[in-house]
Symmetry: C2
Subunit: 347 residues, 2 copies
């Protein structure tokens, strides 16, 4: 393959150990991959000492500046250029790396990447996307928080980006697209969402537009791509996490409530582990900052090496699938797409 | 007690059987309760024939007009006055019933109830609220879909109504209020939500304002009252339902995957039933249309008699708790509340 991935070695709760451990797992999974580590040379070097083969395909670029989880995006923009995150972004900008992965501050990553890499031609605003499990398979959802308020043009862009992602990375030949709404009827929801639906129905792209999709249908697997504004997407994603935790807590207490159910737990453990694996957040780790002129992946800050390796995998898949070239082609082809959309007032 | 509850006997998938069955369960639970059934006299009468004690405390008001699940609110307003739903609303308006329960069309119920009953003094827009389970206890969430776009004034009204509900019906002496947002920091979210937070911090009411709350924290039980616009609330509620169904489906498949896990399931059944009971949607059935000058409860259309009885229970609790009188007192006391809020542009 020969892909090089830039890693912000200092972002996230377990840095740099989790980053180096994740890189080692990814190295085994993707033969030919190379890494550029950005961060504090000493601990990174010491960790790499434990992985001979990884060290052979890695370079360390030293910096002592780190963007913290508390830094506001504005502060990150001021001090960030020389930080581990900023240098990793620059490596992508200069074409030295095919993509970057950071488990650091999301707001800072988006702000710095947007400034340094710019958006792809035709894209007004980048979006945060992630792959999620559904009852029947999986889907990609965007935006998850980069854009709190969205007009119809933003939503249409998200739909196109999500469609290309599902095609190139999830390998679905004809992914279906749904707009998250409070009902399926054409009159439901607010102006921006209704206008986005109208545009997606008429647009000159071979897009499989399903229409509106409700919050419960998303998890039943009604569509392959779920498009929403960043406020709603963030609430939906965190609600899903919260409900999953609530159930886990209820189950744990229930299993402990009697000797019989403890025994039942022991016998069911294999089955329960299958469910756990199916919804393991580490499996779905690696949110994509789509729409940027470069591949930028945000890992969960609290993940482990297994989760971080999966985030690296997302960067590899996007680079291999030629995601950004395809996006650029689609928007090139659309050309006049701005016109019918922009005459409508945004919400 | 001597409370009279009006029932739309024709609303919902299982009407009128579920309605009559639910009334019988509620009759046993709330001694002294009386019912006014609105709908097709013949089947209702036949069903009541099976419950002697229920028949003794029930009156049937015949009508053949029914609002269907497909009727738009506008159509319901045109033809609805003589319908089972419309007549039940009128019974509350005339003071003949302390409240009404319908498992019919939500949009029609809200539109007709709003027109006939009007909102309470000080309330701009009614909201749909429901009680939901959390890891530690339960919470009330509103709005769940009545108001797709909300300004700060709407959100503040929802907060006050939710607080009074949690105090009078859930019996919490000092319920805490959270505004659903994408982060906890003061700068997160959009203008309406930030301004609502500012107002709730300054307001002259003994309200325990927690601040912003994220989608996952809701289910961890961070607050007793979760306030949001109807779009976000609807998506959050349906996401919660969808995730619960997804887990149930995964678990079922996993338990069936081997003989050992089947045995494990048998031994765990008691524990699993406890969890099921804890999150049983029938237990939480009965969404409140808060802010109307009358008690209006919407039952899920697909519930059974047990679920419908719980929706009747919500109407009884709200009437007993004097919910609407307290709301009126709070807004009376506030008086000047409109001023600081209305000077700010709504989103």
């Amino acid at each position: 393959m020969g892909l090089t991935i830039a890693l912000d070695a200092m972002g996230g709760d377990g840095a740099p150990g989790v980053i180096v451990g994740g890189a080692e797992l990814a190295r085994i999974r993707y033969p030919g991959i190379e890494f550029m580590f950005y961060g504090d040379q000493e601990p990174i070097g010491a960790l790499l000492g434990g992985y001979e083969k990884l060290r052979a395909v890695s370079m360390i670029h030293h910096t002592e500046t780190v963007i913290s989880g508390e830094d506001k995006p504005s502060a990150a923009l001021r001090k960030g250029r020389g930080s581990s995150m900023g240098l990793a972004i620059d490596a992508v900008k200069r074409g030295e790396a095919a993509g970057l992965v950071s488990a650091g501050n999301t707001g800072a990553l988006m702000a710095m990447a947007k400034l340094a890499l710019r958006t792809l031609p035709g894209i007004t605003r980048p979006a945060i996307a992630t792959v999620l499990p559904t009852t029947v398979s999986e889907c990609v959802m965007l935006d998850l928080g980069a854009n709190i308020q969205c007009d119809d043009r933003n939503l249409v862009e998200f739909a196109i980006m999500g469609e290309v992602f599902a095609r190139t990375v999830l390998g679905l030949p004809k992914p279906s697209i749904g707009l998250l709404n409070v009902g399926e009827e054409a009159l439901k929801g607010h102006e921006a969402i209704r206008q986005a639906a109208a545009t997606l129905r008429e647009i000159d792209l071979p897009i499989e537009f399903h229409g509106f999709v409700e919050g419960d249908a998303v998890w039943a697997g009604a569509v392959d791509v779920v498009v929403t504004d960043g406020f709603t997407g963030n609430v939906a994603l965190k609600t899903a996490e919260g409900i999953a935790k609530m159930y886990t807590s209820f189950m744990r207490k229930a299993y402990r409530s009697s000797v019989i159910s403890r025994l039942g737990y022991l016998l069911s453990r294999g089955a329960l582990n299958k469910v756990r694996l199916k919804v393991d957040p580490r499996r779905y780790n690696g949110a994509m900052l789509l729409g940027l002129n470069g591949i930028v992946i945000k890992s969960h800050g609290a993940t482990d090496a297994f989760g971080f390796a999966n985030a690296i995998g997302v960067a590899v898949d996007m680079a291999d699938g030629g995601f950004n070239d395809l996006i650029t082609q689609e928007f090139d082809h659309l050309g006049s797409f701005g016109a019918p959309v922009q005459k409508v007032a945004s919400s």
